[in-house]
């Protein structure tokens, strides 16, 4: 499994909008739901990884992947999938390394989603 390359945009708004059935206000709502939940989920991932609770890591990573895929955040979804797979195999050290990568990618994603420009671009298109 290959990690995301940094030049791939963290979110593909065209994909996200298609998955939201072309409804811009729904997409804006989904981003809000995602951002509201994100820090709690990341905390849960860090906590579970530090206690080597791989079952919880697998579970939270899986749920997070669902959100990321639904929002068209392909690179982050790919890393979450990797984390889920390694946790399933019980590989704690790999999980730590992947979680660090996931945190960085989620930082990039939230920065992109926090920009107000994407909403304007979306509504203008």
């Amino acid at each position: 499994m290959q990690g995301a390359t940094t030049d791939e945009p963290p979110v593909d708004l065209a994909v996200a909008l298609r998955q939201a059935g072309g409804d811009t206000s729904l997409l804006i709502e989904l981003v809000g739901i995602f951002l509201e939940d994100l820090s709690a989920r990341l905390q849960a991932l860090h906590r579970a990884t530090s206690t080597a609770d791989m079952e919880s890591v697998r579970f939270v990573a899986h749920t997070l992947r669902g959100s990321l895929a639904g929002l068209g955040a392909r690179p982050a979804a790919a890393i979450a999938r990797e984390l889920e797979a390694r946790a399933d195999e019980g590989r704690v050290d790999d999980a730590r390394e992947i979680l660090a990568r996931l945190s960085r990618e989620l930082g990039r994603l939230t920065a992109a989603l926090a920009e107000s420009r994407w909403k304007e671009r979306l509504c203008g298109s």
Partner: protein
């Protein structure tokens, strides 16, 4: 049943997917019921009047969507009088391999949607499920009507002991009854009495002749 909105259970622990599912099934004649884990989903499906259609995420805390499917299929037949009234279950999952699909159907799922899903595909699959649900309900209504009708109809079958001469029938209490009263008592049939031409010649004509003779003498 007609006119009432179709209740659709949505069970997913991921809030983004949950919102997408609710948006995906939205419609004027639809009523989404939203839960966030498998145990709540099973409770909703075990009520007296469960939602007839359900979208179940495979991986959920508590019970998985797969386990919910199994539980529902295992219990339905004993708790509901008409076995045709079983909920239509659609599994939602990111597992798209054919062995996962097979496991989903083996657990009792009726259909399968792979995440991230295309909203048009979801809508189409929910529409297909809604069609089956409607057919099942029409069928159940028809069965109920037929059973009620059947309960009203009395039938006669088997051997009836009948007198070779007078044609009386022996009833259960060793009592000889006229054919017409026996049939009236054992079926919904009723008799209107008249006289056939043969009996008219044999019985009525001689009687009338006798009467006429009496009057002249």
């Amino acid at each position: 049943m007609e006119g009432a909105p179709l209740r659709i259970l949505i069970a997913d622990d991921d809030p983004v997917s949950r919102r997408l599912l609710v948006a995906g099934v939205a419609g004027a004649d639809r009523e989404p019921i939203v839960v966030a884990d498998g145990s709540a989903a099973l409770r909703a499906l075990q009520q007296d009047s469960p939602p007839p259609l359900a979208l179940l995420d495979w991986e959920m805390p508590g019970l998985s969507g797969l386990e919910v499917c199994r539980e529902v299929r295992a219990q339905r037949t004993t708790t509901v009088p008409y076995q045709i009234l079983v909920p239509y279950l659609i599994l939602i999952t990111s597992r798209g391999r054919s062995e996962d699909l097979a496991a989903g159907f083996a657990a009792g799922a009726d259909d399968y949607v792979v995440k991230p899903f295309d909203p048009d595909e979801l809508r189409a699959r929910v529409g297909a499920g809604a069609r089956i649900v409607r057919l099942q309900h029409d069928l159940a209504d028809r069965v109920t009507a037929l059973e009620e009708a059947l309960a009203r109809v009395k039938t006669l079958q088997g051997m009836l002991p009948i007198c070779a001469w007078c044609k009386k029938i022996r009833s259960d209490g060793d009592y000889w009854q006229q054919v017409d009263s026996y049939i009236a008592a054992h079926t919904d049939a009723r008799f209107s009495h008249s006289i056939c031409p043969e009996c008219h010649e044999k019985h009525v004509v001689p009687q009338l002749a006798r009467l006429r003779q009496q009057r002249t003498t």
